[in-house]
Amino acid sequence: MVSERFRRISQEERMTDRTFAQLKPEGLDELTEEAHRRRRAADLAMAFQTPRKSPKVRFPLFITGGVVVAGLAAAAVVILPGGPARPGTGTPPSAARPAVTMLDAQAVLLAAAESAGRTEAGTGRYWYTRERVASLIQVDQDEYAARLKALAADAKQEEAVGKLKPSPLPYAAFSGSTDESWRARERGDASRNVRKPDAALTFGSAQDEQKWRQAGSPRLVQGGESTRDDRTERVLSIDNPSLTMRNVDKLPTDEAGLKRRLRELYGDRAASGFSVYLWQTGVDLLGAPITPGTRSALFRVMAEEKGMTAKSQVKDELGRTGAALITAGSGDRGKAVEYRIIVDPESGDLLQYEVAEEGASAPLLRIALEETGWVNELGKRP
């Protein structure tokens, strides 16, 4: 057999292979990872604005409410820390309660650190999370598809099809869903993701809803529950590709050690500042199965960061009370972006996180963590 012959390679060929292998520049991996972070938001946004080909439908569904938001949430990952946080602007709707008082962000985080350190670590085969997701709908995809079809019907306009930009909605409407995931701890075990979209839209305000009605109450979202089982190992934290379900609980449990490790993971990426990196990584880790010690240390590391503001007694999407921490940076669409999390200082739990453009009445994305914990069976809850 030919293939057999080629499988048996000689000692000399192995040497040649080794020589060749070492000609690959070592720095290549770092370059590509850096580019991945830098290009991700723009590449995804670009794709999602482009019509897809489908074997059945000429102009299939693109741009769902969550899509552009997903891109923007990713954009928030690469925002550069700008000026100081602006506590007065863009009050998060979830935090729009009158009895808000300013407090010391550091104190909130240190309290959370204390509480987190007192909890016990669990274990299991799957890490379960259930989240409530609200995404600002940017585009009416049906209307966009209709415009594309009209263009495509005219042979002369064919070129313009790829360039047609969706127009933003003149009102704030949100698609909501409950997303559950079971992440397998062991490589090779199947993981499961379930998304249950809400039947109804929600609106930023009564006026927004009225404008939507005046526009003919477009449906804006495609419903349909989806369940997917696969053995693909998901990225736990985009900024930290080396973290996995198997090593995330081995992160240092002391403040100095964790800070050192995070600095290592952050590396020498000059593109985004450490503080923005820390916020995004913090959100990723607080939703992941890190140990109570790491969780406590993480809050302490975050407490050292400057430029955060805090508000007490805010309510999250699910009505739970916590303290909001806010930081700001310059977004890549020219507008400043606010990044907000709500933590419960009593338990050290992350309750909710939000990304919002400065001055916008509604956040682009809001995720409330409903439940997390270990289970031993797919489909089971803690």
Partner: protein, 186 residues
């Protein structure tokens, strides 16, 4: 993960590094990133038709996009230039530690004598870690043809390395003899 956006994001996150790494060894930084973006845009448009596994298909698209850029002769030189440009002190140190029979630049010179297809066959196997059937898909040939190319590439690179090694040994010997003469004459 039934919705296309999520599937695409997952595809992008899983393969971006591999696709860009592939492009970076064939084109400069900004062109590589553009080719990479374009490759994923093609993947998005054809999301419903993507074959499994996806990586060879993605690399094949990137390869076609890159092929439009320059002719083969320029691309072959480009690979060696790209490796040189991307090499750092660390690569030289690692090379010296590994005690190869020739120095790194000499090995690159040997690589430059190979045909583009030969280098590519080896790169897909050694650098990108693709099994023959996937590498064949990237190069757009049969697995059998790919195996033949890989075998030939190994042989040719081995020969080129040997030739370079004896050449540099000869140069060292000549230089040594010249030095010796100089000492004697002095």
């Amino acid at each position: 993960m039934n919705d296309p956006e999520e599937r695409f994001t997952d595809l992008y996150d899983r393969h971006y590094v591999a696709v860009l790494g592939f492009a970076l060894l064939r084109a400069d930084h900004s062109l590589s990133e553009d080719v990479c973006s374009e490759t994923f845009l093609v993947a998005w448009r054809r999301l419903a038709d993507l074959p499994e596994p996806e990586l060879p298909w993605l690399l094949g698209v990137a390869r076609n996009l890159l092929a439009k850029q320059r002719d083969s002769r320029v691309r072959r030189q480009a690979l060696v230039d790209r490796i040189t440009a991307l090499s750092t002190e660390r690569d030289h140190v690692a090379w010296d530690v590994a005690e190869h029979v020739v120095d790194r630049d000499t090995a690159l010179a040997a690589l430059a004598t190979l045909s583009e297809q030969d280098v590519e066959a080896m790169a897909l196997a050694t650098w990108h870690g693709l099994p023959p059937e996937q590498a064949a898909a990237v190069m757009g040939c049969s697995t059998r043809t790919y195996n033949v190319r890989l075998h030939r590439a190994r042989k040719r690179l081995g020969q080129a390395l040997r030739a370079e090694a004896s050449k540099s040994a000869g140069q060292r010997a000549r230089a040594g003899a010249a030095r010796q003469r100089f000492v004697e004459e002095a």
